[in-house]
């Protein structure tokens, strides 16, 4: 049994491998990018807008509102990163309803890459807003002895992010695969529907956790800036 779509390799040249995960991701990227271009090329700033524009505005403003509710005041700064994270995860997970589709999020490489993005995004946003000194000082607060624990926390939560998403998505795909073998009639449909819910929740959790990490670090750095 295949656990990860990484195992499906279309082309391999030394270290370079073109597998199902990367291809699926490209397809998703193309779909999202082309869809955005198609919808936003005829944007109207009048009061009356098209339905697609309304849907996109609702999604974007919804994400922006969620980011603000987490505690990040300048939501526009984080919208591109966190919004893309959420939309990519959501679309990637929701498309599991297609029969032959395997989400790239069921690959630990993908979830690890996203978790690493969050890992680097936290210091990137904080340093750009509060400066590198204030960011580094937050690691030795309240006492310098806390430094190793802060570092361990950074790595562990990145690992937790990656494994949580991978585990949920991989297990969902695995369960559907197993159920298709045992009871191919009813249960796979139910589990697929359940997988849609799980995928949406995981996309939301991943994005919210990333927002919380950035916001928490921003608050710590913000305290340093005030003091």
């Amino acid at each position: 049994m295949r656990i990860s779509p990484d195992d499906v390799v279309f082309f391999e040249y030394g270290f370079v491998k073109l597998n199902l995960t990367i291809v699926t991701t490209w397809i998703l990227m193309a779909f999202m990018a082309i869809g955005s271009v198609l919808i936003t090329r005829k944007l109207k700033s009048r009061v009356k807008v098209t339905r697609w524009q309304s849907v996109l505005e609702m999604i974007v403003t919804g994400i922006k509102q969620q980011i603000e509710e987490v505690g990040l005041q300048k939501a526009e700064r984080y919208l591109a990163f966190l919004g893309t994270l959420f939309l990519f995860l959501l679309l990637s997970n929701l498309l599991t309803i297609l029969p032959i589709y395997e989400p790239p999020t069921s690959s630990l490489s993908t979830t690890a890459a996203l978790a690493i993005s969050v890992f680097f995004a936290v210091p990137f946003f904080n340093i750009s807003e509060h400066g590198i000194l204030n960011y580094l000082k937050s690691y030795v607060k309240p006492l310098p002895i806390m430094l190793p624990f802060h570092i361990i926390s950074e790595f562990s939560r990145t690992l937790a992010l990656a494994v949580r998403l991978f585990g949920n998505m991989m297990s969902g795909v695995m369960i559907i695969g197993i159920l298709l073998t045992i009871t191919p009639l009813i249960f796979p449909i139910v589990m697929t529907a359940f997988g849609l819910l799980t995928g949406s929740v995981q996309a939301y959790i991943f994005t919210i956790l990333a927002s919380v990490f950035i916001a928490a670090a921003a608050q710590e750095s913000g305290k340093e800036t005030e003091t």
Binding site: F15, T21, A80, G83, T84, S109, A112
Partner: protein, 261 residues
């Protein structure tokens, strides 16, 4: 294998590219459109608020104008009423004066008519009285009225007392004009001679005597000289008659005036 480094790096790059793509083609256009729409709505709201403020000002202005117009109309109405009352009083006064003048004029006309009528009555009465008397005397007594009147006039001159003659003498002989004898009928030559003779004998008159016949004004025979007059007429009777007639006409005039008023 559960984990692949190349895939990890590739997915990392893919994700960053996707972030850039969506930022470029999704978030920025959408946020710009939202901001632009918010600005548009905000400007429209401001414009609407400005329009509303202007409308309220216009409303207040028009209400003020209405109030002013009502006040002005009220003032004009009051002024017009005052002017009408004034004009009415003026016209009433003018009418009253005109009526007064008309009444005065009418009274004057009535009075004049009354005088004329009185004079006419007196004249006719005198004529009729003399005609009747003349005819009566002629028919019943075979006497001529004119002769008798001239005779009586002459006898009256003859019958004057001495002091009266002296008085007349002084009065008549100091006149530079002629002595005038006026009568209602033409005196005959004999009568004129008789009168001339009696005046010359009794009153020593040296001036000329002018005889006049005035049937409408004289009711007998009169002697006029230097402001003095000796008359032998029925004027006293006619005066009494005229007085009675005047009373009667006055009563009629007053009644007419009251009716006019």
């Amino acid at each position: 294998m559960l984990f692949d480094w190349f895939t990890l790096i590739a997915q990392l790059v893919n994700f960053l590219v996707l972030v850039w793509l969506l930022k470029r083609y999704l978030y920025k256009p959408i946020l710009d459109a939202i901001d632009e729409r918010e600005n548009l709505i905000s400007s429209q709201l401001h414009a609407a608020e400005a329009t509303r403020t202007n409308a309220l000002k216009e409303l207040e202005n028009y209400q003020q104008k209405n109030t002013d117009f009502d006040q002005q109309r009220h003032d004009l109405l009051i002024g017009a009423i005052s002017e009408v009352n004034l004009e009415r009083q003026k016209l009433l006064e003018q009418t009253r004066k005109e009526v007064e003048a008309l009444r005065f004029h009418l009274q004057e006309s009535l009075r004049t008519e009354q005088l004329n009528m009185g004079s006419e009555i007196i004249r006719r009465t005198r004529t009729e009285v003399f005609a009747i008397v003349r005819k009566t005397l002629a028919d019943l007594a075979g006497v001529n009225l004119e002769d008798q009147m001239a005779g009586v006039f002459i006898s009256r001159i003859n019958g004057l007392k001495t002091d009266e003659k002296e008085f007349f003498y002084l009065a008549l002989n100091h006149s530079e004009k002629e002595i005038s004898i006026r009568s209602m009928f033409k005196l005959s030559m004999n009568q004129q001679d008789a009168i001339h003779t009696v005046l010359k004998n009794n009153l020593k008159i040296s001036a000329g005597i002018n005889f006049e016949t005035l049937p409408d004004t004289v009711s007998g025979i009169e002697l006029i000289a230097n402001g003095f007059k000796v008359s032998w007429t029925i004027d006293d009777y006619l005066a009494s008659l005229e007085t009675h007639l005047a009373k009667l006409l006055n009563q009629n005039t007053e009644t007419t005036s009251e009716n006019i008023t």
